[in-house]
Each structure stands twice: as structure tokens, then as C-alpha cells.
């Protein structure tokens, strides 16, 4: 595409004093600060990412386990009750659990899934802000 002479001259005459050297000096100073802070920031980001991944996996596994109990292993109740309530020390709680077993386990599974996913959303925010 050819250049229009009149417009070309208009732009070619544009030679403002931009003081690029001063800006470069300021930028160099800021780059040095970034160099000092960046390794620590990178380490923190990596740590956050690792924690988030662990939370996600634990949440996913816990959710799957609880959903598995709801759907396929009603007989595992006794083992779970023994584990949680240590025998039959809390009869009211045991009764409540027996009555609302499916609801409680489904809610727990959903909570596990959600809690496991939350840090992932945060990680996204962290990496964007970094």
C-alpha cells in the first residue's frame, strides 16, 4: 500500500522530545526490583498451585468415595458409623444418620467436590494477578 505524501509529511514532522533515556533508567530500576521479588513470587505461586491441586484431588476422591457409599454400599454403614461415632455412644446422632443417610452423604459429597474446586478458581486469580 502506497503512502499518501501529505499525511506522510505530517507524521514525519512529529518529533517530540520524549526523553526515552530517562524512561529507560526508571524502567531499569523497576526491573531490578522485579528481579528481586520474582523468584519469591514464583515460589509462592508454585506452592499455591500445588496446594490447590492437592485440595482438588482430595475433594474429588472424598466426593467419589461418599457418592460410592450412597449408591453402592449401604452395608458399609456400620463401618462408617463405628468410625465416626465410635460405636454407639451417640444414639441420637446414629438414629439421625440412619434416617437421613442418603441426604447426609450426598451433601457431604457435594461439599467435598465444591471445597476441592474452590482453590482451583483462586489459583486462576492468583496467576492472573501475578
Amino acid at each position: 500500500m502506497n503512502k499518501d505524501r501529505e499525511i506522510d509529511e505530517l507524521f514525519k514532522s512529529f518529533k517530540p522530545d520524549v526523553n526515552a533515556e530517562r524512561i529507560m533508567t526508571e524502567i531499569s530500576g523497576k526491573m531490578d526490583v522485579i528481579d528481586m521479588v520474582k523468584p519469591e513470587q514464583d515460589l509462592m505461586n508454585r506452592f499455591h498451585r500445588m496446594v490447590s491441586a492437592c485440595c482438588f484431588i482430595v475433594g474429588l476422591l472424598a466426593g467419589c468415595f461418599l457418592m460410592g457409599l450412597v449408591l453402592y454400599h449401604p452395608s458399609a454403614d456400620n463401618a462408617l458409623l463405628n468410625l465416626v461415632f465410635t460405636g454407639n455412644r451417640f444414639p441420637e446422632l446414629t438414629m439421625f444418620y440412619t434416617d437421613h443417610r442418603d441426604t447426609i452423604l450426598t451433601l457431604l459429597a457435594a461439599t467435598s467436590f465444591i471445597l476441592g474446586s474452590l482453590p482451583l478458581i483462586n489459583t486462576n486469580e492468583w496467576s492472573r494477578s501475578a
Binding site: 503512502k3 499525511i7 514525519k12 524512561i23 529507560m24 531499569s28
Partner: protein, 159 residues
């Protein structure tokens, strides 16, 4: 790319970048300098991801253009100064007088046309590079240039 190489390339492009941003900001020196710094630091944070098959200047101007758009978007939200009753902001822009003719000619142009004209005439960029900076097809860039030229000529005639 090494840090030294990055700084060397940045130094080479800094003046052109400042001129481009100054014209985009219609002669507002402090705003252009802030944007140049923001662009350079953003480039510094991601220069390891820079692919050398693209020109460094194209990559840098793309960051600058995106920063300018972000900056303008933020500015478009109305803000009320805390001391609105006392402080009256001056509408005069520092350092603008010298090239008033150019600034007033490009001031009212749509951003796409203005950017295409500045990169084509001031930075001597090729259409393909402008297309990369603006993330637009080359045909669209050509039409921005053509329309921008017509608008600019009309403005220059009026003056």
C-alpha cells in the same frame, strides 16, 4: 532470549514506542510515559515466552496497544474525586502545544483508524505487522488505513 538482549532491544524501540503512545494519548506526556513503563514491564515479565519468529517491535507494540485499550477502558468508568468541590482538573495537556496540528487532526479519529495510521506512517510498519499488533485481518487493516486517510484529509482541509 537473555535479559541483556531484551534490554538492548527495548532500548532501541523505546523512543518509537513513546512517540506512538504519545500520539495515541493525544499528546498527554505523563499518560504516555506511564503506558510506556507499563508496556516495558509487562514485556519484561513475559520476555521468556517471546517467540523470536515475530519481530520484537511487533510484539512490543502489541503489548502497548493492549495496555492502551485496558487503560482507556479503566478511564471510561466515571470517578468522582474526593475533593470535587475544591479541585478542578485542568483540561490543558502538558507538552501538547508544539504538535497541536497533528494532535487535533488525529484526536477525533476512531481508535482503530488512528492506530493503523500511526503504525503505518510513523513507525513504518508493514500491513502484516500492523495486523498482528491489532489482531485484525490484513484486509481490515487496509480498510482502516483507507478510511483513516480520508478522515484525516477532510480534517486537514477543514483546518
Amino acid at each position: 532470549m537473555t535479559r541483556d538482549r531484551f534490554i538492548q532491544l527495548l532500548e532501541k524501540e523505546q523512543e518509537g514506542l513513546l512517540k506512538f503512545l504519545l500520539a495515541l494519548c493525544d499528546g498527554n506526556h505523563p499518560e504516555a510515559e506511564d503506558l510506556a513503563q507499563e508496556t516495558s514491564l509487562k514485556a519484561y515479565l513475559s520476555y521468556r515466552g517471546y517467540v523470536e519468529r515475530f519481530k520484537f517491535s511487533t510484539w512490543l507494540y502489541r503489548i502497548a496497544y493492549n495496555s492502551f485499550i485496558d487503560h482507556r477502558r479503566k478511564k471510561s468508568f466515571p470517578t468522582v474525586p474526593l475533593e470535587a468541590g475544591i479541585h478542578i482538573e485542568s483540561t490543558e495537556r502538558p507538552g501538547r502545544n508544539e504538535f497541536e496540528g497533528l494532535y487535533s487532526a488525529i484526536e477525533g479519529l476512531p481508535l482503530d483508524e488512528k492506530t493503523a495510521l500511526l503504525l503505518f506512517y510513523m513507525e513504518d510498519m508493514k500491513i502484516i505487522d500492523i495486523a498482528i499488533v491489532m489482531r485484525k485481518p490484513t484486509g481490515t487493516v487496509k480498510s482502516y488505513l483507507s478510511r483513516g486517510r480520508n478522515h484525516l484529509k477532510e480534517k486537514l482541509k477543514d483546518e
